[in-house]
Amino acid sequence: MILKNTLITYLLLFFNLFSFADLVTLEDDELGNVDGEGVGIVLEDFVYNAGESINGGGTFEISGLQTSNNEDVVLGISQFYIAGSGSNQGANVIDNPVNIGRLNNPFNLELRDGNDIGVTDKAVFEFSAPTKLNGSRITERPDLGIRFDLEIAGTHHQSLENHIETLSIDGSYLRLWGGSGHMEGELALNIYTPSIEFFACDAAGNNCGASVDFQNVSIEAGLGQGEFQPVTFEVDATGNFIFDVGSLEGKCSSINGSGGCNAGAERDVLVNYYNSGPATNIFIGNVQVGGQSFGSTTVDNLQIQYLEVKSHDL
């Protein structure tokens, strides 16, 4: 028996060795063979329902915030749900499942050839939502929402609610690769929903006030473009985080007398970036506040050419 165990242990150790031996740097020609094959992910008949009001008086709290008078603020999550469309703001959840992702257009995890997407000679990790073409149908778009109570210094103050109907994030993706000693990325986030609604209720969750309802929302946000403008998320040496979208400064080395970029390859890249680089478009069909329509809003072709967000201790 001991002999058998020892044998198995040795065998396992050897297999381990083999698997380490397989980890080698990918050569150029091998990288050329990475061609968009990955793991498809679909959630079938999915329901998620959590929170204090649905688990029989349990706890689901987010803490760590403080008021300006240094009183602790606790957000008690009454309900957080993901369910099928027609959830009626979280009332019809458990018997209302939803398929998220399609079998022929699923969420996808894969390694891509960086040369196709502006990252020279590197493998790029990509997590993508279903594509917009042949995208999620109405039955494959979940409702989700959250109801939470504001507790300041132990006293219940108010209950806030946010509900999103039939959400689709088709066309979104996150790409990550190793930059010079740190992680770099590129992000596209698309949000399509007929309604994002916010409103407040009293401490018991009743007598809710007028709602703010963003109707027919389309958001298509792009951040970063390959190695040309990478997005980085880091924590600095003092323990504060820095979210950074690369600057375009210094992308042109040949500046003319009036401060512009002289014609050439660098200028072509910049022109191409301005014309067809990552941009953010937002369309909101109607903003309704307490039943009153405020009309529609459009933000077109907003291009973030540099962004640095840094946290500071208070």
Binding site: G40, I41, Y48, T59, G64, G181
Partner: protein
């Protein structure tokens, strides 16, 4: 000894033989020759404390101390995961700290399945095998908590340790998690 084992084996066998009945035609059609795994799990993490806490006590090596009783005022007593995504020594750490509590679930299943129908017509064109992870319906949390933070050092015991807690989460009770997670190869392997 052998006799005892045989006697026990007989007892185990008896109730099973009672349950053996011929399968009717319709029931036979339900048999699909599938294999799978049914899992239940229960894990408790750092319930009574963790290794990285009090550095004030010089009588013990700091990194191996444990003190997470209810009267302890030391807040750093759970497990800690620190990830560095920046430029070596100039950068800090993104931290999941004070991970504590008990998770349990019943009925996580793991099986393969051929999909050739359903899914509003997608199933027939898909006509392929998937790995199906059946979610457990209910996941129970017992005083689970964690803190998301940014830190200047990987360990609280490192020199120059500074940390900004962003928020803490505390969950106690059941969460409904239903459905199946389907995994399959995409592209043209």
């Amino acid at each position: 000894m052998i006799k005892i084992i045989i006697i026990f084996a007989t007892f185990i066998y008896l109730p099973l033989s009672v349950a053996l009945e011929p399968l009717a035609e319709e029931e036979m059609q339900q048999v699909q020759g599938q294999g799978g795994v049914y899992l239940s799990g229960d894990i408790t993490i750092n319930d009574t404390g963790g290794p990285l806490n009090n550095t004030a006590d010089t009588s013990n090596p700091a990194i191996w101390q444990k003190n997470c009783t209810t009267i302890s005022t030391d807040v750093r007593c759970g497990a800690r995961i620190a990830v560095n995504a920046g430029d070596g020594s100039n950068s800090g750490w993104l931290v999941l700290d004070n991970i504590r509590g008990r998770f349990s679930f019943e009925g996580l299943t793991l099986t393969t399945r051929t999909i050739d129908s359903g899914f509003d017509g997608d199933g027939a064109t898909f006509n392929n095998d998937v790995l199906e992870i059946g979610l457990p319906n209910t996941v129970s949390y017992g005083d689970v908590s964690y803190t998301l933070a940014n830190s200047s050092q990987a360990r609280p015991t490192d020199a120059g340790f500074q940390q900004t807690d962003i928020f803490s989460v505390n969950i106690n009770g059941d969460v409904s998690l239903r459905g199946n997670l389907l995994l399959f190869p995409t592209g043209n392997p």
